[in-house]
């Protein structure tokens, strides 16, 4: 077993484009799992601009060529909403832990890659070119005789373990939602994003981070098929004002990590439904693109 830290940087990612920030080729005969990631987004101290949108993991067979993005892996990484803090001395939060490594039978959702695979961390830009983006991720390599503890013996079985890119039965869910249009400024509930969940898909939400705006007031989640609002136990929505936000985003600048979802939400299974993310402003409009929700959970499929 060997620990390998991987670092990479790009001077710029062209507007509306995807580039590899860091990559690593799994040596022949070794089995890799990626358990943590940290990003230093682009930031211009003169203008305050940052144009990195998110990062995803991918697996490829050719170095330098963006391969297949791992499903449901979209980690918000803009300077103002970075869900994957770098975890250095200037960060207020540690690196983003994808899952605990090496726990074998307990279904760890670390991303798993086969011998010879190229692990890539790719960044996606917004509507302008980014500045310099730096990132690192943490890999553990196993020898072929060491993966027995996971109950597997071949590369094919390894990438079909939970978290392996060849399967969708059990994967880590990272996704984020930004309001694409401004709110009405009336202090009423409005849906700023919806997720359609098919009858063969199951989603568990484990953690939520909300980037507030001066005019954001309350946030809640609505499950259309079961007709339930979350948080449900208290019947009170999440307070997401700028000063009293109880769902810190957990970025490099937040003094608190992203909190776990309340028990009623964490134990709820979203299936064959539409998940609505609802916001209430304080009577003044929230401009488009100003609030962001990072969701961390588990995605499974039964097909």
């Amino acid at each position: 077993m060997k620990y390998v830290p991987v670092y990479g940087e790009v001077d710029s990612i062209p507007a509306n484009n995807t580039s590899i920030i860091a990559e690593f080729e799994v040596p022949a005969g070794k089995y890799a799992e990626v358990y943590a990631v940290g990003v230093i987004p682009d930031y211009d101290p003169t203008t305050g601009d940052s144009y990195l949108d998110y990062v995803s993991f991918a697996h490829s067979s050719v170095k330098g060529q963006v391969g297949s993005i791992i499903p449901k892996c979209r980690i918000s990484a803009n300077y103002y909403r970075n869900a994957a803090p770098y975890g250095n001395g200037a960060s207020k939060q540690p690196e983003l832990i994808i899952d605990l490594p090496g726990v074998g039978p307990q279904n760890s959702l670390t991303y798993k890659f086969a011998p010879g695979d190229i692990i890539q961390l790719v960044g996606k830009s917004l509507s302008s070119d980014t500045g310099k983006v730096r990132a690192r991720f943490d890999v553990i390599l196993y020898d072929s005789d060491e993966i027995n503890t996971f109950g597997v013996t071949s590369p094919d079985e390894w990438i079909n373990l939970p978290g392996g890119y060849a399967q969708k039965n059990l994967i880590r869910l990272f996704d984020f939602y930004v309001n694409s249009s401004s709110t009405s400024g009336t202090g009423k509930w409005e849906t700023f994003a919806s997720v359609s969940v098919q009858d063969y898909e199951y989603i568990y939400i484990q953690s939520l981070g909300f980037k507030p705006h001066d005019n954001s007031k309350y946030f809640r989640i609505f499950d259309q098929s079961s007709n339930k609002y979350f948080p449900q136990l208290t019947n009170n929505p999440f307070i997401v004002t700028k000063t009293e936000n109880i769902l810190p985003f957990g970025s490099d600048k937040d003094y608190q990590p992203r909190p776990p979802a309340p028990p009623d939400l964490e134990s709820h299974v979203f299936n064959n439904t539409s998940i609505d993310f609802e916001i209430q402003d304080n009577g003044n409009s929230i401009p488009a693109g100003e609030i962001c929700l990072q969701v961390v959970g588990i995605y499974t499929i039964s097909k």
Binding site: P41, Y43, P45, T46, A90
Partner: protein, 112 residues
């Protein structure tokens, strides 16, 4: 983000290193404002007082000018960060002028 105010005590020629105190540890410049010396003068007039019969400088005031931050040798109107506590200005600075330096301290933000 921090601010350091640098008072020019004696004339500084353009292109000369300006060393700031060691406690100023700049990771990146955010904005630099130069308070430029401008003369307050009284134009020549027909006053009988001999002092005002020709143009007279009464004193000095400051006029703000935003300097452009560059990564190479600065020209007029520009400023460059050389290392964490040294800057170079592309203009001659006169005694009595002031630089208001707005900066990210080294290690304050990841990447700087």
């Amino acid at each position: 983000m921090k601010t350091f105010i640098y008072a020019v005590e004696s004339d500084i020629t353009a292109g000369t290193d300006i060393t700031l105190p060691k406690t100023v540890n700049i990771g990146a410049l955010s904005s630099v404002i130069r308070l430029k010396n401008v003369d307050i003068s009284h134009a020549a007039c027909g006053a009988t007082d001999a002092a005002y019969s020709s143009a007279t400088t009464l004193g000095t005031s400051h006029s703000p000018e935003s300097l452009e931050i560059v990564n190479s040798t600065p020209s007029a109107g520009q400023i460059q960060l050389v290392n964490s506590n040294t800057i170079v200005c592309g203009d001659n600075l006169s005694a009595g002028e002031v630089l208001i330096i707005h900066y990210i301290e080294s290690g304050e933000i990841p990447g700087f």
